[in-house]
């Protein structure tokens, strides 16, 4: 039984003629980690808003089709109930800081405070997510006096701490340093292993290939390709449409006509795949030579 179900979803923002999402059919299983890729304007954020109930409860416009999470239709739920089930990390962290709190710790605890969770449990959970998102040392700082990447970590922590059934992330690592990005992907993978359902809009294909279960490629509001990360991310049609691809894939494509990548071998997306492929070719050449 999928926990998230979208059927023939089409959405127009108010006063627009072109749909931002068109005929989207998507089912996500509990504990699955789905990555959404696509060029700017493809509809990634709109899909995130739809899953998170901001469409239709905050953004008006016209929503057609079925949006269902955990057996409940979005139209039949209030946004305040919906957000307890589906947590959204916004694309711009500057929009997510509540402004109500003096410290990072309180900011992250904010959502839990009104939810009846006992104080000791709140403290334990907040400390845990601050650790996971790499900001334990910032607990006593003001959420405003932070660097961009630090604010983005606070935004992520304040959703993770709520332990939503479905976690929706809109480019959550866009301002994070490279190793921090990889670590956050690891944390999110771990959440999925523990049963959280994850939908994440991202550009960073190297980490998507390594951590996600499935990739949805959006283009002009439609699902253009969908499947296992490796299949989708090495599909030639991505290049034509202006999707980002891994440098490893590009390099292997350039290597093929020079005889530097074995024809029968799938193209690489990750470092390990590239190392394996180029090493194999080198060994084969040396044996011949």
């Amino acid at each position: 039984m999928p926990i998230v179900k979208l059927q023939q979803v089409t959405y127009h923002y108010p006063f627009t003629e072109k749909p931002a999402l068109q005929d989207i059919n998507l089912e996500v299983e509990e504990g699955e980690f789905v990555a959404v890729i696509g060029p700017n304007g493809a509809g990634k954020s709109t899909l995130c808003y739809t899953l998170a109930g901001f469409i239709p409860h905050f953004y008006k416009g016209e929503l057609k089709g079925i949006v269902e999470v955990d057996g409940v239709l979005v139209q039949d739920s209030d946004l305040s109930d919906w957000v307890l089930k589906v947590g959204l990390v916004f694309q711009n962290p500057f929009n997510q800081i509540s402004g109500a709190k003096y410290t990072v710790f309180e900011e992250v605890a904010f959502g839990l405070e009104n939810s009846g969770v006992p104080r000791s449990e709140i403290i334990r959970r907040v400390e845990e997510v601050l650790q996971m998102t790499g900001i334990a040392d910032l607990a006593d700082r003001s959420p405003y006096s932070l660097s961009g990447g630090q604010q983005q970590r606070v935004a992520l922590a304040s959703i993770l701490v709520m332990q939503p059934k479905v976690l929706v992330l809109d480019e959550p690592t866009s301002q994070m340093d490279p190793i921090g990005t990889r670590e956050v992907f690891g944390v999110i993978r771990q959440m999925a292993e523990q049963g959280m359902t994850v939908v994440m809009a991202e550009h960073k294909v190297e980490w998507i290939a390594q951590f996600a279960d499935r990739v949805i490629a959006l283009w002009e509001g439609k699902i253009y390709l969908e499947g296992k990360p490796h299949e989708v991310l090495t599909d030639e049609r991505l290049v034509e449409k202006g999707f980002g691809v891994s440098r490893y894939t590009t390099t292997a494509r350039l290597a093929l006509p020079r005889g530097l990548w074995q024809k029968e071998r799938p193209l690489p997306v990750t470092l390990e795949e590239a190392v394996a492929g180029f090493s194999a070719l080198r060994n084969a050449r040396r044996k011949q030579g």
């Binding site: 060029p39 301002q175 340093d177 490279p178 990889r182 390099t251 180029f278 040396r286």
Partner: protein, 269 residues
């Protein structure tokens, strides 16, 4: 125009010591990338270049101007700064007005303003959006508007704070083209980025920051191959460089082409 940073330390009012004795010199027309972990002090450093922040200790000189003695408005003639968060920067009703605001403020004649606005619209490929309200654009296009409004000020020095954030492949290519054009025009460009591949492919010089200090500063090829020092500040070498290191290539490579040439040589050896 020369940039000279001498023994710069900066402490925020809350007590955070964000820069510790940073010394740097950037020559006219250089293309420099600044990388390093979140909170390393990158934004704090570049905000000193246009006087948004003033040194707690040490000094910053832009040409012959010590930033302590010139207002932000004055320094805007020499240094254009695109904020990390474009919403701190945009406030007018249309893209074209937004872009015209800077050069108008600098007191340029009307005809020149017109030229500069058209040039900036063209470089950023925003022509079709000239009459749009910046707030109706997606965050990634708003960032492009913020960039255009700085380009139009025609300063000798331009500073971009994370222009690649959230941009798709086409926009990153467009940014690379803008930077190449600015280089051709003899401008100094300083760009903060977490996109290390972009950094490797577009900048001759790379400055690595960590804990408020400069950890490394030098040619991209030298700096980006030092995996251990980079890891201290949460940076991985570029994808291609990592591949070259793993395969034990004799030289540090930064682009697919360089990798294949070096790899072919290694196979033949």
């Amino acid at each position: 125009m020369n940039i000279q940073i001498e023994n710069l330390s900066f402490r925020y009012p809350n007590g955070v010591l964000a820069l510790r004795r940073v010394s740097l010199e950037i020559a006219p027309g250089e293309q420099v990338a600044v990388i390093g972990q979140n909170g390393a002090g990158k934004t704090t450093l570049v905000k000193h270049l246009n006087g948004l922040l003033l040194p707690t200790e040490g000094r910053v000189r832009i040409g012959d101007w010590d930033t302590r003695h010139y207002s932000v408005a004055k320094l805007a003639r020499r240094v254009g700064y695109v904020f990390q968060n474009p919403d701190e920067q945009l406030f007018t009703k249309t893209v074209a007005e937004e872009i015209a605001f800077g050069p108008r403020n600098l007191g340029y004649p009307g005809e020149r303003i017109q030229e500069l606005v058209e040039d900036a619209l063209q470089l950023t490929q925003l022509q079709a959006m000239r009459n749009t309200n910046p707030y109706d654009l997606s965050p990634t296009w708003r960032k492009m508007v913020a960039i255009a409004s700085i380009l139009a000020m025609d300063t000798p020095i331009l500073v971009f704070d994370e222009p690649t954030t959230g941009q798709d492949a086409a926009s990153v290519t467009r940014l690379a083209m803008i930077i190449a054009e600015l280089k051709r025009r003899g401008k100094t460009v300083i760009t903060i980025t977490h996109d290390i591949d972009f950094c490797a492919e577009n900048f001759a010089r790379v400055i690595v920051m960590g804990g408020g200090q400069v950890l490394l500063d030098g040619p991209a090829r030298t700096v980006l191959g030092k995996a251990e020092i980079l890891a201290q500040t949460y940076v991985d070498p570029p994808q291609i460089t990592r591949l070259g290191l793993r395969l034990g290539l004799a030289e540090v490579v930064c682009t697919p082409q360089e990798f294949l040439d070096a790899f072919e040589k290694q196979c033949a050896a």
